[in-house]
């Protein structure tokens, strides 16, 4: 049964004028920043975030405090906030950017203070035009309020923040591709090493890249303390997290729940959240963590929302925090094809296996869905997937192996491998009948 805790990042959502300074101040906005820059040292802020064990909310789930501590000592250093949310069926950052821009800005400035950044950039997905407008307006207000710019709240700390618009490329959600894009280049993910932007990031300077939702947690942690945050959830999965639930649920939407104490079933079936499968249909399968994750069947519904369990026992990931429910009317070949097609369209084109493999798989899947499949195709699909992500298999294992620079490559096989693993018969029916059984 779902637990009930006071929301952290969505506390202001739904309050009047939540996106304005007035609305934000009415619910205690910028008190965390004032507290941090006027009463706390940088180290004290870092300690609170460390204690909170706040895992990055962008998808990789790396502890934010530890990331900060890896920052190479050099001048200048930068903070870059990743608001390039583009993972299919993920729409939580979109909401935060439009509905609570000040919270993101406050978290950003506190973080910049904690890590000693010279400047902060908030990279917002280009298509989120309203979000960009709201963020820009909020930043203007923040400067006017003394919360940004020179000598913030009278302290010695000064910081400039820039809202940077993207221009339509999923790959820029990858932190190194995002840095390239922020440098005004094509969004090609950077090859490793160097492994972390904290060592070599924007313009080669040490850079922390954190997600919008991660930033949205920071004000609460500063006000309430890291321990209060860590008291929520379980030690390995602290706090709450915002999940985007979509697909065939009755109530699609963004829901903030306590980690580890809740399950996928809670998110899909709890009346406060997804409220179950609509039209009285059965859940056929669900995607637990965005397009790149391996799919789960109904047998995994009771798995806790705990990344270590989802990866370890489930062989998948919570990733971007998006859950897509598919009911019994869904053609799984079509669903998998559409996700593969997405990766094919969004491949940056650097690495051969991803560039050529994704478009090849797209073509094979489309052919099967269109009724032109051949019996050999299923083995071919698996082998091509294996050439992109060696050793990929069903049941799945996490993490996948890769032959590419960035994780987009190994993101391509999971929809195919999951659909083939769970619904091989549907593929065979497509091939045998020469048509999609779902019409």
């Amino acid at each position: 049964m779902a637990t009930t805790v006071a929301p952290i990042v969505t506390a202001h959502i739904g309050t009047p004028d939540s996106h304005t300074l007035r609305g934000y101040l009415a619910s205690g906005g910028y008190e965390a920043l004032r507290k941090a820059v006027t009463t706390m040292t940088r180290e004290e802020v870092q300690t609170e975030v460390d204690t909170a064990n706040l895992l990055g909310r962008g998808g990789a789930g790396f502890p934010a405090g530890r990331k900060w501590s890896m920052l190479r000592k050099a001048d200048p250093t930068y903070l870059v906030v990743n608001g390039d949310e583009s993972e299919p069926a993920t729409f939580k950052d979109h909401m935060l950017l439009e509905e609570d821009p000040h919270q993101i800005i406050e978290g950003t400035i506190i973080t910049a203070y904690a890590i000693g950044a010279a400047q902060a950039f908030i990279y917002v997905r280009g298509e989120f035009a309203l979000g960009i407008e709201r963020m820009t307006q909020a930043l203007n207000e923040a400067y006017g309020h003394g919360a940004a710019g020179n000598r913030i709240f009278g302290s010695d700390f000064s910081l400039d923040v820039v809202i940077h618009p993207g221009a339509g490329a999923y790959i820029c959600g990858d932190e190194t591709a995002l840095l390239e894009s922020l440098e005004g280049k094509r969004g090609f993910p950077r090859i490793k090493p160097p492994y972390f932007p904290a060592v070599m990031g924007l313009y080669g300077a040490p850079t922390i890249v954190n997600n919008v939702e991660t930033m949205s947690n920071i004000p609460w942690i500063v006000v309430n303390g890291g321990a209060a945050f860590a008291a929520l959830g379980e030690p390995q999965a602290t706090g709450t997290r915002l999940f985007a639930v979509s697909g065939h649920v009755k109530k699609p939407g963004n829901y903030e729940v306590e980690l580890a104490k809740n399950t996928f079933r809670d998110l899909i079936y709890d009346p406060r959240f997804g409220a179950g499968i609509r039209n009285g249909a059965e859940l056929k399968a669900f995607i637990p963590g965005g397009a790149s994750s391996f799919w789960f069947g109904p047998d995994r519904l009771d798995m806790a929302l705990d990344e270590t369990k989802v990866k370890g026992e489930g062989g998948s990931m919570m990733g971007s925090g998006s859950i897509i429910a598919m009911d019994s009317s869904t053609c799984m070949v079509r669903a998998a094809w559409r996700l593969v097609r997405f990766f094919s369209r969004e491949s940056c084109g650097q690495c051969t296996p991803c560039r050529e493999g994704s478009s090849w798989l797209d073509k094979i899947m489309y052919r099967i869905e269109a009724g032109d499949g051949r019996p050999d195709d299923l083995d071919l699909l698996m082998d091509v997937c294996d050439n992109i992500s060696p050793g990929v298999q069903w049941p799945s294992r996490w993490p996948p192996n890769m032959t590419t620079i960035c994780p987009l490559g190994p993101s391509i096989p999971p929809p195919i491998v999951s659909a083939l693993g769970m619904f091989r018969d549907e593929f065979l029916t497509h091939i045998k009948d020469g048509a999609c059984p779902y019409g």
Partner: protein
């Protein structure tokens, strides 16, 4: 740009496929493995460029904290104890997978592809690839080849997106004119719409393309790789001396490819060097001797022509004395030939009026007598002082090397120039001086002083102070040539003398003609003898074998032409020289040719000069004969012969020998080897450099002269200390000391510039009216129109608009041309290319003036 790792005594031990190998610290696995006999397949990796790890072909297993993982061998640096597996089933599957992916969209048009037969993708597929395709869908389609430029075509269907060409254009050439366009599977290489890839280095992209996507128009469909024969040689389009592979099909040259000489060109060539072999194939070549009969040049036998030449020269000598004959040119000649001609001139003809430079260079003593640096020295120097031409236009691959060194932070560039150059944007300081006043600027740089606010040569005190700071580290390498042909070379020589006082300063000459440095070494200049020796110092040493030598130093080309134009010099030998086009003061050159009573031209083409000769002797050119050449470092390297000369053309040394015989002398040469033996024996700078040394595998990149062991001080020819006299009883003759440069006296001030005039600046463009460009169809069309560049301030002051047509007036000529604003030209100056076919600055220059001023009027 990635350099080869610095050689280090420390090595790193890594294990590749169970075998322990020694690797250089910092190098990538792919390079370490290759050197130890394990070839890891690759497409995007190129040892001279930054690795990008994109094609994924070189995936191997590298052991990490979590066991073996697939990693690109081109991007993982070696580390002590590292374990690498290149031959496991996992590696094989990954590599096969990548190969299959690459073939998914690659057309199977190998039979009509220029790359077929030398294609890494084809080779890999043949060796490792699957027998048949599993890809049944339609391949990606693009419009078949598009022109990236006049020289380079792109077939996007064949492209495998390896980023080599685009990386080259950006990283190596600094001309990011081609880019990846689009994304994912529809990614393509392209230019900005209608803005061609007009880089001087575009041909390199064709050479490094690992498939047949990029082709060069001069080679396209000309031959199949298996029909090509090749020989290694040195490029002779300029004095950098890039190593090349000369390829022919049948009797024709078909292609040049860059060969990676680590100290010189790193595998790169400029497009002029790569494609001007077309001129060698030209139907316009002089293929038989010609003798003047009235107004016409009539084909003759060698016997007739040599007899006519010898008679004409002998008659002049008999009538007017030995100083009445002069030899201009020789920078086209290989070393052996230059030596033979020097001997012919100075011994048989007895004249010292010999100059291989056409008034576009520097006094021989300045080139030969200053401490010399190599290209590598320059690239590693704390600071490089550029006092010379626009290297991008005149010595393109030296430009690439220095640009890379500056971009990588290995050196800093301080430029003294009368107009901006290709390297200006990479320079730490660029001092734009007023023409003719460079020596003053050099003095201010070296000596400091002057007023706090006093400009020197138009350069602000602050800029000079900043540059002084940059050169204060010492050990500068000065790249020394002619910044402008419209000012006296003597002012540059004076500046060089001043800069030579900088502690640890060394010089890299930047004269452009192919073997001008070799010709100078071989004595084809007034006042010098072979081996970088002054005439006076070497008289005894050479005289022992050669006999009498000219009594006094002779005239340089300016002096020869002036004297000839006045009718006081009666015979000219043009040794591959076309002063009517190439000498800065063309009018003087034309008057001189007309004024000389008898002219012999040894040439490959009929030029504006040789067409007026009395006898024309056809010469074989590079790729048609063997020999050696010397680059601007003093590096001697071998030339390869690939084709035979057209008609009855001869190598220049043979012409010299035969002419000597008819003049009653005997040079004593019957082969290139016999000439080289004499060079090695007599020329002090070349002592010890035997044919065997030059032929050794270790000398593949050439050998820098003088050898470290060569005597730089005058030394006795014999080791026999006791011998007060040799067997003949004569006093022993000492090997003469090498020249050292004595800084010239301070020249007078140049005249002040009146406010209505602008001071002319000029230099060569890469594509100009040179014979090798005009006779190469692929290059001839690339020659631009001449435009006058003027500082926007002056343009404004004179009430002119950029892009407008103006009348340019000089005492010598008036021309109408376009003017463009260019902040890279200092105020008070006007810059115009030297010898473009239209509007050449060469028509304006008066060689008797220290500087040349022009006026501009609206038309």
């Amino acid at each position: 740009m990635a350099d080869a790792p610095e050689t280090s005594t420390d090595t790193v031990s890594i294990t590749v496929d169970g075998k322990v190998i020694a690797a250089q610290p910092g190098e990538m696995i792919i390079a370490a493995a290759e050197r130890n006999g394990v070839y890891i397949p690759r497409f995007c990796y190129h040892p001279r460029m930054r690795p990008v790890g994109m094609c994924r072909m070189c995936l191997v297993q590298v052991k990490g904290p979590r066991g073996f993982a697939l990693s690109p061998a081109c991007y993982v640096a070696v580390a002590e104890g590292q374990e690498v597996v290149t031959d496991s089933p996992e590696v094989k599957k990954a590599q096969d997978g990548v190969l299959e992916f690459l073939l998914v969209n690659h057309p199977l048009d190998c039979p009509v592809c220029d790359k077929g037969g030398e294609c890494p993708l084809q080779d890999q597929t043949l060796t490792f690839g699957p027998g048949e395709t599993r890809f049944v869908e339609e391949k990606r389609h693009w419009a078949k080849p598009i022109n990236l430029s006049d020289l380079v075509l792109l077939d996007r269907e064949r492209c495998i997106q390896c980023d080599r060409c685009t990386r080259f254009a950006d990283e190596v050439a600094g001309d990011p004119l081609i880019e990846f366009v689009g994304r994912g599977a529809s990614i393509e290489v392209n230019t900005f719409p209608d803005l061609p890839f007009s880089s001087y280095f575009s041909g390199n992209t064709v050479q490094i393309c690992p498939v047949g996507a990029l082709t060069a128009t001069p080679y396209r469909f000309k031959a199949r790789p298996w029909d090509l024969e090749q020989v290694e040689s040195t490029c002779t389009s300029c004095a950098v001396g890039c190593r090349v592979a000369v390829q022919s099909s049948g009797a024709k040259l078909t292609r040049y490819l860059g060969v990676d000489a680590d100290p010189v060109n790193h595998g790169w060539l400029c497009d002029r060097g790569r494609f001007d072999f077309e001129a060698v194939n030209s139907d316009e070549r002089v293929t038989a001797p010609l003798v003047r009969k009235g107004d016409e040049l009539i084909e003759a036998s060698w016997g007739e022509a040599l007899a006519a030449a010898a008679k004409g020269l002998a008659d002049v000598t008999k009538l007017h004395g030995k100083g009445s004959v002069a030899v201009i040119g020789g920078a086209r000649l290989p070393n052996e030939d230059a030596f033979a001609w020097a001997k012919l001139a100075k011994v048989v003809l007895g004249t010292d009026h010999v100059d291989c430079q056409l008034g576009d260079g520097l006094p021989a003593a300045a080139v030969l007598g200053l401490p010399r640096a190599t290209i590598d020295d320059a690239c590693r120097a704390p600071v490089v002082i550029l006092l010379g031409p626009d290297l991008k236009e005149e010595l393109p691959v030296l430009y690439l090397r220095l640009r890379a060194a500056a971009v990588d932070g290995k050196t800093k560039i301080v430029e003294l120039t009368p107009h901006s150059t290709g390297l200006t944007r990479y320079a730490a300081a660029s001092l734009g001086y007023r023409p003719g006043e460079v020596a003053l600027l050099a003095r201010a740089l070296v000596e400091g002083g002057g007023g706090e606010d006093a400009d020197v040569a138009g350069v602000s005190a602050a800029a000079i102070a900043a540059a002084r700071e940059l050169i204060s580290a010492g050990n500068a390498v000065v790249v020394l040539g002619r910044p402008s042909l419209a000012e006296y070379g003597s002012s540059v020589a004076e500046a060089a003398g001043v800069l030579a006082r900088l502690p640890g300063a060394r010089f890299l000459p930047a004269l452009r003609r192919a073997n001008v440095h070799g010709a100078l070494d071989m004595g084809l200049a007034p006042g010098v003898l072979p081996g970088r020796v002054a005439l006076a110092d070497g008289r005894d040493w050479f005289g022992r074998e050669w006999g009498a030598l000219p009594a006094e130093p002779g005239l340089d080309t300016l002096g020869i032409l002036t004297t000839a134009a006045d009718g006081r010099l009666q015979a000219l030998i043009l040794l591959g020289a076309d002063p009517a086009n190439d000498f800065p003061d063309r009018q003087l050159a034309r008057r001189a040719i007309a004024g000389a009573g008898f002219v012999v031209a040894v040439d490959t083409f009929l030029t504006d000069s040789s067409r007026h000769a009395d006898v024309v002797l056809p010469a074989a050119t590079y790729a048609e004969r063997a020999g050696t050449t010397t680059n601007l470092e003093g590096r001697v390297s071998r030339l390869g012969q690939k084709v035979t000369p057209p008609g009855v053309a001869w190598p220049d040394w043979m012409i010299a020998s035969e002419l000597a015989v008819r003049l009653g002398g005997d040079l004593g040469f019957d082969s290139l080897e016999s000439i080289w033996a004499e060079i090695e024996r007599l020329a002090p700078s070349h002592a010890g450099l035997t044919t065997a040394t030059l032929s050794a595998r270790a000398s593949r990149d050439g050998v820098v002269t003088p050898l470290p062991a060569a005597p730089t001080e005058a030394t006795a020819d014999t080791d026999d200390e006791a011998a007060g006299a040799d067997a003949t009883g004569e006093a022993p003759v000492n090997r003469p000391a090498l020249l050292s440069f004595a800084a010239p006296e301070r020249a007078g001030d140049v005249p002040a510039l009146d406010s209505y005039s602008l001071r002319l600046v000029t230099g060569h463009k890469l594509y100009d009216s040179a014979t090798s460009v005009r006779r190469s169809p692929s290059l001839a069309g690339l020659v631009a129109k001449g435009k006058l560049r003027v500082n926007p301030y002056d343009l404004d002051r004179l009430g002119l608009t950029t892009g407008g047509r103006i009348r340019l007036q000089a005492p010598r000529a008036t021309m109408v041309l376009e003017v463009v604003a260019d902040a890279g030209v200092p105020r008070g100056s006007a810059s115009l290319p030297f010898n473009l076919p239209s509007e050449p600055a060469a028509d304006l220059i008066d060689g008797s003036l220290a500087v040349n001023d022009v006026r501009i009027e609206t038309t």
